[in-house]
C-alpha cells in the first residue's frame, strides 16, 4: 500500500507540476503582418502626361495586392503634367482630370501649389505634412510603418445619391477608439475608378497609351482640401465619443456615379498624421 500511496502522490503532484508558458513581448511572430483595421491614405500626385507616373500606379497596385482594403489611394492630377490639349475629344490628352483641390495642393501648370514645386511622381503616405513628400519607391516602407498600428478612430460613411438632382450626400460618423487629446480634422473627397483615357508611359512603346485605366482619381472635395476641424486639442476624446457630419455636393457631368467612391479621413491638425481613413462606394 505504501507503493500505491507513493504512486498516487507522484501522479497528483505530476499534474501540479505540469505548468504553463509565459510569453514575453514581442507577442507577434517575426516577419508577419498583423492588421488591426487602420487604413492607410496615400496621396499620389500624378498627371496623365507624366511618363513615370505609371510606376507609382504600379506601386499602388502592388500595395493593394498586399494590403487590399487597408490602402486607400487618391490620385491627384496636378502640375503641368495634368495639362490638357484642348476640348476636342478625338485628340489625345483632351480629358481634364484636374480639380480645384488638386490645383491648390499640387499646383496648376507652372504655378506651384501648397506643396511647392512637385517632381512627379511623388506622394504622401498617411501624413499630409510638406516634409513628408516621398518618392513612390519609399511608399511600401512607409505603409509598413503604419499598417500594424491601431486605428485611433473608426469612420462610418453613409452615402446617398439622388438621380433626380445629381446630389451626392455623405453622412460621416467618426468614433473614438483610443483616448486622446488631439486636434483633429475630417476631410471628405469623392474619387472615381476605371476612367479609361490617355496616359503617357515611358516604359511603353509607343509611350502614349490611349486606353489607360486611371484609378482612384480625385473628383472633388465635400469640405475643401483640409476638411473641417471636428475636435480641438483642449478636449480629451474618450473611447466611444462620436462626431457626426453631413456633406453634399453635385455630381460632375462626366462622372460615372457607379464607379465613384466617397473617401473620408481624419488627421491630426498639429502633426498632419492621418489617423484613419475609410472608403465606400456611392452606389
Amino acid at each position: 500500500m505504501k507503493y500505491i500511496k507513493f504512486a498516487v502522490i507522484s501522479f497528483l503532484l505530476g499534474m501540479f507540476a505540469t505548468s504553463c508558458d509565459i510569453i514575453e513581448e514581442p507577442y507577434t511572430k517575426e516577419g508577419v503582418f498583423v492588421w488591426h483595421g487602420r487604413k492607410i491614405l496615400i496621396y499620389d500626385f500624378t498627371g496623365h502626361k507624366c511618363g513615370n507616373c505609371p510606376r507609382a500606379h504600379e506601386t499602388i497596385n502592388s500595395l493593394i495586392n498586399i494590403y487590399d482594403e487597408a490602402v486607400i489611394p487618391i490620385a491627384i492630377h496636378c502640375t503641368a503634367f495634368a495639362r490638357v490639349t484642348g476640348s476636342d475629344s478625338t485628340q489625345p490628352y483632351y480629358y481634364d482630370f484636374r480639380t480645384d483641390i488638386g490645383d491648390y495642393l499640387g499646383g496648376r501648370m507652372t504655378e506651384p501649389g501648397y506643396y511647392g514645386e512637385l517632381t512627379l511622381p511623388i506622394g504622401l503616405v498617411n501624413n499630409l505634412a510638406k516634409e513628408k513628400l516621398l518618392s513612390h519607391t519609399a511608399w511600401p516602407t512607409e505603409v509598413a510603418k503604419f499598417i500594424s498600428s491601431f486605428p485611433e478612430y473608426l469612420i462610418e460613411i453613409q452615402p446617398e445619391y439622388s438621380n433626380e438632382n445629381d446630389i451626392v450626400k455623405a453622412d460621416i460618423k467618426v468614433k473614438t477608439s483610443v483616448t486622446n487629446s488631439r486636434k483633429i480634422a475630417l476631410t471628405v473627397f469623392i474619387i472615381e475608378e476605371h476612367i479609361i483615357n490617355w496616359q503617357t508611359d515611358y516604359n511603353k512603346t509607343p509611350k502614349d497609351i490611349p486606353n489607360y485605366e486611371h484609378n482612384h482619381v480625385l473628383r472633388a472635395g465635400f469640405n475643401g482640401a483640409w476638411g473641417e476641424v471636428i475636435k480641438n486639442n483642449t478636449n480629451v476624446t474618450v473611447l466611444g465619443d462620436e462626431y457626426t457630419k453631413s456633406y453634399s455636393i453635385t455630381k460632375g457631368n462626366d462622372w460615372k456615379i457607379q464607379n465613384c467612391f466617397i473617401v473620408a479621413f481624419v488627421y491630426d491638425v498639429d502633426t498632419y498624421e492621418v489617423l484613419q481613413a475609410e472608403m465606400i462606394k456611392v452606389q
Partner: protein, 554 residues
C-alpha cells in the same frame, strides 16, 4: 522529457488500477440503476412570431444513463441521440446531431483512494478554474474524458488529480487538461479543533491546459495555467466562502488574443438563524474565460465556470432578461434578506409570512490603455490588451435586479406568493449586439394556490411586465390544475405592449407522473429569447408546435 513524463503517468495510472482491481476478489452480482429522458417537438411554421418548421417535422433529444454498481466498483454509460437536435440547442452545422455513447466510465474505490477512468465531471472549489458539468437545458456538456484520482492523504486532507480531454459534441476538444486540487479541513486535521464552533477549510487548485500553438501571427503559449486559493470560515451563524483565481496569459478568441493574465475574486457571506437569512456576495472578474480550445466560443469547451450571483428567476416574465456572465470583465454584488414574520402576529398570521428582498447589480470593470496608441475596445489583438486595477468598478451598468417577494399561507387550503421585480438590463452587452440600449422592466406577480379536499389543487399565476423598451409590455395568465398523478396547464403570454404586433403566446398541456416516470404533452407557442442557467446562456428560438417529454428512472 515530455514523453518520459507521459509514460510515467500512464504506467502509474494503469498500474495502480490493476493492483486495486486484483484486490477486488469478492463476487457480487451488484445492481443496475439508470434513467431515461426524451424531449420531442413537432414544429409548425408561424410567421406571426417568426417560428419556423423543420424538414424533419419533429426533432428529438434523448438520453439514457445506465450505472452498474458492485461494492467498491461502479461503471456506466450514457446513450444519447439527437435526431435531430431541438432548435436552439448548440448545433452549429449539425455538429450535435447523431446517436452514440459519448459518456462512459468506470470507477473503483478502495480505502482512501478513488480512481475514475473514462468520462467524469469535476469541480474545483467554486469552479473559477475548473468546472466540468452537464446541463441538458442549455445543451452544455463539457465532460472530461481521461483519468482522475482522488485520495485522502490524511483525515481532513483530500487531493484530486486529473488528466483528460474535454467532450466536444461527439468528439474531443483539441486541448489536454491537467488539474490538481487539495482541500484541508482544519477541524478534522487537528483533533483539538474537532468540536470548535469555528470551522475552517482551505483549498487550492491548479489547472493547466495544453494546446499546440500553431498560430500564423502570434507567439501563443502551448500551456496555459490557472490557479486558485479558497477559504471557508464558519462561525456559529456566520459563513464566509471566498476564492481568488489567477490565470496566466491565455490569448484566445474570447479576449481577442490579448496576453494579459486574468483574475477573479468571489466572496459569499451569509448569516442564518431561525426565521432570518442574510446573504451578501460580490465577485470581480477580469479576462477569465478559460477553454480547452482557444478558438472555441459560445458554450463550447469551457474549463471553468464563473458563478453568477444574480437571482435565477423561476417565473416566466422576469426570466425574459437573465444575466449572462461576462468573463472579459465584470463586477457584481448581491444582497439578500429572507425573513419569516412569526406566526400568530399581525403580519405573520396563523402560519407566518415569508418575505425576501433581493438586490443585485453588475458593472463593467475599469480598463485603461496600455499606451497612447493602443485601444482598449475592441481589445488590441497581439498586445497585452489593457491595464486594470484589481477590483476596479467601471461606470457602465450591465444589470440590476431589485425584487421583493412575500409568500403567505392563508389557511390550509390557500397559499400565495406575491412578487415585484425591477430589472435594468443592458441589452447590448448581455446579448452581444449594438444599438438596442437598456431595458427597464417593472414586473408584478401574483401566484395563488387553492388546495381541494381530494388532494387536488388549483394554481393560478398572473404576471405583468411593464416596459417601454424591447418588445414592450407583457401580461401572462396561467392556470394549473393538479391531482395525484396528473396535472393540466393552460397559459397565455400576451405581448400587448408591442408597437408592431400584439402577439399571443399561449400553451395548453397536461402531464402524468407515476412512480419514477413523468410524461408531459403540450401544445403552444414560445417567444424567441435567451435562457440562462448559472450565467451561461443559449438562444431560444420562437416556436410553435407540440412538445412531448418523457422521463423515467429505475
Amino acid at each position: 522529457m515530455k514523453k518520459i513524463f507521459t509514460l510515467f503517468l500512464n504506467l502509474a495510472g494503469l498500474g495502480i488500477f490493476s493492483l486495486l482491481a486484483q484486490e477486488n476478489t469478492e463476487n457480487n452480482s451488484g445492481q443496475i440503476t439508470g434513467n431515461f429522458q426524451t424531449d420531442a417537438q413537432y414544429y409548425i411554421e408561424d410567421q406571426s412570431i417568426g417560428a419556423t418548421a423543420v424538414k424533419e417535422y419533429m426533432l428529438v433529444n434523448s438520453w439514457a444513463n445506465f450505472i452498474y454498481s458492485n461494492q467498491n466498483f461502479s461503471a456506466g454509460f450514457r446513450y444519447e441521440g439527437y435526431m435531430n437536435t431541438l432548435l436552439g440547442y448548440p448545433n452549429s452545422g449539425g455538429i450535435n446531431d447523431g446517436i452514440g455513447i459519448p459518456f462512459r466510465w468506470a470507477m473503483f474505490s478502495k480505502d482512501d483512494l478513488e480512481i475514475t477512468v473514462g468520462n467524469f465531471y469535476e469541480q474545483f472549489g467554486n469552479g473559477l478554474v475548473l468546472r466540468s458539468y452537464e446541463e441538458k437545458m442549455l445543451g452544455v456538456d463539457n465532460a472530461l474524458d481521461g483519468f482522475r484520482i482522488k485520495y485522502q492523504l490524511f483525515k481532513g486532507i483530500n487531493l484530486t488529480g486529473l488528466i483528460a480531454k474535454q467532450r466536444y459534441y461527439w468528439n474531443h476538444g483539441p486541448g489536454i487538461i491537467r488539474g490538481f486540487d487539495g482541500t484541508i479541513q482544519i477541524n478534522e486535521v487537528f483533533q483539538s479543533l474537532e468540536e470548535s464552533s469555528l470551522r475552517l477549510n482551505i483549498g487550492g487548485s491548479f489547472v493547466s491546459k495544453f494546446q499546440h500553438e500553431g498560430h500564423p501571427l502570434y507567439n501563443l503559449p502551448d500551456n496555459v495555467a490557472a490557479m486558485s486559493g479558497r477559504i471557508m470560515i464558519r462561525y456559529k451563524n456566520f459563513d464566509i466562502n471566498s476564492e481568488y483565481a489567477y490565470k496566466f496569459n491565455d490569448p484566445s478568441l474570447d479576449n481577442s488574443y490579448i496576453f494579459k493574465p486574468g483574475q477573479a475574486l468571489l466572496i459569499n457571506t451569509s448569516y442564518a438563524k431561525k426565521g432570518l437569512g442574510i446573504v451578501l456576495s460580490t465577485k470581480w472578474v477580469d479576462n477569465m474565460a478559460f477553454r480547452s480550445d482557444r478558438n472555441a466560443s459560445l458554450t463550447d469547451l469551457n474549463i471553468n465556470q464563473l458563478p453568477e450571483i444574480t437571482k435565477n428567476h423561476i417565473y416566466v416574465l422576469p426570466a425574459f432578461y437573465p444575466y449572462a456572465t461576462q468573463p472579459n470583465g465584470e463586477w457584481g454584488a448581491k444582497a439578500e434578506i429572507m425573513y419569516k414574520i412569526p406566526k400568530n402576529t399581525l403580519l405573520g398570521g396563523k402560519y407566518g409570512t415569508n418575505v425576501s428582498l433581493n438586490y443585485s447589480r453588475a458593472h463593467d470593470i475599469k480598463k485603461t490603455q496600455i499606451n497612447d496608441s493602443t485601444p482598449v475596445f475592441p481589445p488590441a489583438s497581439g498586445t497585452y490588451g489593457y491595464n486594470t486595477k484589481f477590483f476596479s468598478i467601471g461606470d457602465k451598468l450591465y444589470f440590476q435586479d431589485i425584487n421583493f417577494e412575500i409568500s403567505k399561507k392563508w389557511s390550509k387550503k390557500i397559499l400565495s406568493n406575491f412578487s415585484y421585480v425591477y430589472l435594468i438590463y443592458n441589452y447590448d452587452v448581455l446579448r452581444g449586439i449594438t444599438g438596442h440600449g437598456n431595458v427597464y422592466a417593472h414586473i408584478g406577480i401574483v401566484d395563488m394556490t387553492y388546495k381541494f379536499e381530494n388532494s387536488s389543487a388549483l394554481k393560478t399565476e398572473i404576471q405583468h411586465m411593464f416596459t417601454k423598451q424591447d418588445e414592450g409590455s407583457w401580461v401572462l395568465g396561467m392556470i394549473e390544475y393538479s391531482l395525484p398523478g396528473w396535472f393540466f396547464t393552460v397559459f397565455d403570454n400576451w405581448n400587448y405592449g408591442n408597437p408592431e404586433s400584439k402577439k399571443h403566446y399561449y400553451s395548453i398541456g397536461f402531464g402524468h407522473i407515476s412512480g419514477g416516470t413523468r410524461i408531459q404533452l403540450s401544445y403552444g407557442k414560445q417567444r424567441a429569447g435567451v435562457m440562462c442557467i448559472g450565467g451561461v446562456c443559449r438562444n431560444v428560438p420562437a416556436s410553435n408546435g407540440v412538445f412531448v417529454s418523457i422521463s423515467s428512472t429505475f
